[in-house]
């Protein structure tokens, strides 16, 4: 990505509206699915949909797809940290 392009990237209105529609659709899916009993998978499905929604928000709304690539590195860093904290803490609670 050239520097000038990054600096002047303006997301068109239509992109935002499409993303918003997608978010609303995913919300209705997750509400509907929650009504169906899927046992242990209910939580996984709900979190999976939440992950897709947050990816949309971060990439488009928060513009990270078009910004400096170092921000992506930062984001991955904080996400990894969080994941590692969860993983290591659960080594305690899973094996009590």
């Amino acid at each position: 990505m050239a520097h000038t392009e990054k600096k002047h990237h303006i997301t068109p209105y239509s992109t935002y509206i499409i993303v918003w529609l997608a978010l609303v659709i995913f919300t209705s899916i997750t509400v509907t699915v929650a009504g169906i009993s899927l046992g242990t998978y209910t939580l996984l499905v709900a979190l999976f949909i939440a992950a897709i929604k947050s990816a949309l928000v971060i990439n488009i709304f928060m513009h990270i797809k078009f910004d400096e690539s170092i921000f992506k590195v930062f984001l991955i860093l904080s996400g990894t940290t969080l994941f590692v904290i969860f993983l290591l803490t659960f080594f305690d609670f899973l094996y009590r």
Partner: protein, 546 residues
């Protein structure tokens, strides 16, 4: 590298401020100049260090012989809590980053200030607010806190003392730490002088950068934990309290998820200072520059993964215990990389044993003892025996005071002529270093033996068989007091009466030595262009000729 003669008759930052007020208190407390902010931190931190040190002396006095000598058990409980809280939250954590990071990060990068100067001033004021809250928690009705600096659940929910206020103070201080971290990371990314690529940055900058990352990634976890404890105390919301179903061990996890990386917030900048001082006084480029730079990041990363080694005896699962023990041993690797590279730098160098260098020698010796005994504690089998004994107390005083504390003095003695443009008495400084070494070992080494014999920490009384070693330790504390007075008096005398120092008395080559001492308001008349490796001493001749 053209400006050293040109700036000789330039005004220093003491004479020229960036506030409306030209002089007096307002010219300091409203100044966004990173150098003034650094010095304000220095004065605040010096006061808190003195207070906590005196508390420590009183604790040692109580322990001079068996039975009640000076105070009752409850007073002793509050004193060790205060000693811990003040030393950790008000001195060691902000110490090197807030004082020397603020003063020297922009100078070493060749920048005019940090990225967000106003935020920087704001961080300072948050720090002061937090400090005032800590002091308020001492005097307000309810009484000073008595939980130890770890605030373990369930006692911290039930103790009637001013816990809520004290931990809110820790929250406020954490906020200051986070903002400083954000500022430093952005500064390193955005304000490096032309030509200063990542691997041309001085190693103190690398260390401060890694520290800043820990500050912003770890501190939020303690912030939320503290908020949860406050909410639990104020509203009776069930979170950690076992009587409401909560899990106190989960609190310990969250507490140490921050507080262990915080140990690296304390030690990493110190290691950065060591990497500055050794090449300057060995007149030799640093050995393994990249290895040291990367090992800072590695320590920051691995240091994040080892927190539960504080909890081996807490009742967490065996699987977690051996995993965390294994990870703990991994931290020794990057630390070892640093120590061996420092020693290799000195090999065949032309060493000039000035006081800052002698402080570093002290550091390497004391920190090595502290680090190696850390392995003893990181090992499951031995930790079960030594947990919560004086062995732990000795270990962390060797690491924190012998490590970070020593380097705090090293940094003061190294950058003193740069900050104040004056020089202290070298001979007195040398005596101070030697006395410090004796006093330190007299004070803390007996604690290893006491701990091994089974003396538990945080007790105001002990069995008769411990008496002789406890007495030795107390004598050590008196010698330490005398030493500290000597060290600080020498510095104060240097500031007030010291002879004028030349601009670059040690022959340092990193960018802070390329400007006048003390530096002018915006550091450099012309932003220098970096052409050399950071520790390339061949440029010293050019710097003198300019």
């Amino acid at each position: 590298m053209t400006n050293s003669s040109a700036v000789l008759n330039q005004k220093s930052f003491y004479e020229e401020g960036n506030t409306k007020a030209k002089s007096g208190l307002a010219a300091w407390i409203f100044s966004t100049d990173h150098k003034r902010i650094g010095l304000m931190y220095l004065s605040a931190i010096a006061i808190f260090f003195s207070v906590a040190a005196i508390i420590g002396i009183f604790m040692r006095l109580e322990l001079i012989s068996t039975g009640k000598d000076l105070m009752d058990a409850q007073t002793y409980n509050t004193l060790f809590t205060l000693h811990g809280v003040i030393m950790i939250f008000l001195f060691i954590i902000p110490g090197i980053p807030a004082v020397f990071g603020n003063f020297f990060l922009p100078l070493q990068l060749g920048a005019r200030d940090v990225s967000f100067p106003r935020l920087n001033l704001f961080s300072f004021w948050i720090y002061i607010t937090g400090a005032i809250l800590v002091l308020l928690s001492l005097v307000l009705p309810g009484g000073p806190i008595d939980t130890g600096w770890t605030f373990y659940i369930p006692y911290s929910v039930r103790s009637g003392t001013n816990i809520s206020l004290a931990i809110f103070a820790a929250f406020v201080l954490g906020f200051s730490s986070i903002l400083t971290g954000i500022n430093f990371i952005t500064t390193v990314h955005r304000l490096r002088a032309p030509g200063m690529s990542w691997f041309k940055m001085p190693l103190f900058v690398w260390a401060t950068y890694a520290t800043a990352w820990i500050q912003i990634i770890a501190t939020p976890v303690i912030a939320i934990t503290i908020v949860l404890v406050i909410i639990e105390r104020l509203f009776g919301v069930g979170i950690f309290d076992p009587s409401l179903g909560g899990d106190p061990i989960l609190y310990q996890h969250l507490f140490w998820i921050y507080s262990h990386p915080a140990v690296y917030i304390m030690i990493l900048p110190a290691m950065g200072v060591v990497s500055e001082i050794i090449p300057t006084f060995a007149r030799r480029t640093i050995f393994g520059y990249k290895a040291i730079a990367i090992s800072s990041l590695a320590i920051a990363f691995v240091g994040y993964l080892v927190w539960a080694h504080h909890m081996f005896t807490s009742g967490m699962s065996d699987t977690a215990r051996w995993i965390f023990s294994l990870l703990t041993f991994l931290v020794a690797l990057p630390s070892g990389v640093k120590v061996f590279n420092w020693v290799a730098t000195m090999y065949k160098g032309s060493i000039d044993p000035k006081p800052p260098f002698l402080w570093v020698m002290n550091f390497i010796f004391l920190f090595s003892i502290g680090g190696l005994t850390g392995l003893v504690l990181g090992s499951l089998v031995t930790d079960v025996h030594l947990h919560d004994t004086y062995f732990v107390v000795a270990h962390f005083h060797y690491v924190m005071f012998g490590g970070t504390g020593t380097i705090f003095f090293a940094a003061l003695y190294y950058w003193f002529p740069k900050i104040f443009g004056k020089m202290y008495n070298i001979k007195t400084a040398n005596i101070g270093v030697a006395l410090f070494f004796v006093a330190f070992n007299l004070l803390y080494f007996p604690k290893f033996i006491l701990g091994y014999m089974g003396m538990p920490r945080r007790y105001y009384d002990f069995l008769p068989e411990f008496e002789s070693l406890q007495f030795v330790s107390t004598v050590g504390s008196w010698l330490m007091l005398i030493t500290l007075i000597l060290i600080i008096w020498n510095l104060m005398h240097g500031i007030l009466r010291g002879r004028k120092s030349e601009s670059n008395p040690w022959g340092g080559v990193t960018l802070e030595w390329h400007t006048s001492s003390p530096p002018p308001l915006e550091n450099f008349k012309v932003i220098p262009e970096v052409k050399h490796e950071p520790y390339d001493f061949s440029q010293l001749e050019d710097m003198k000729n300019d």
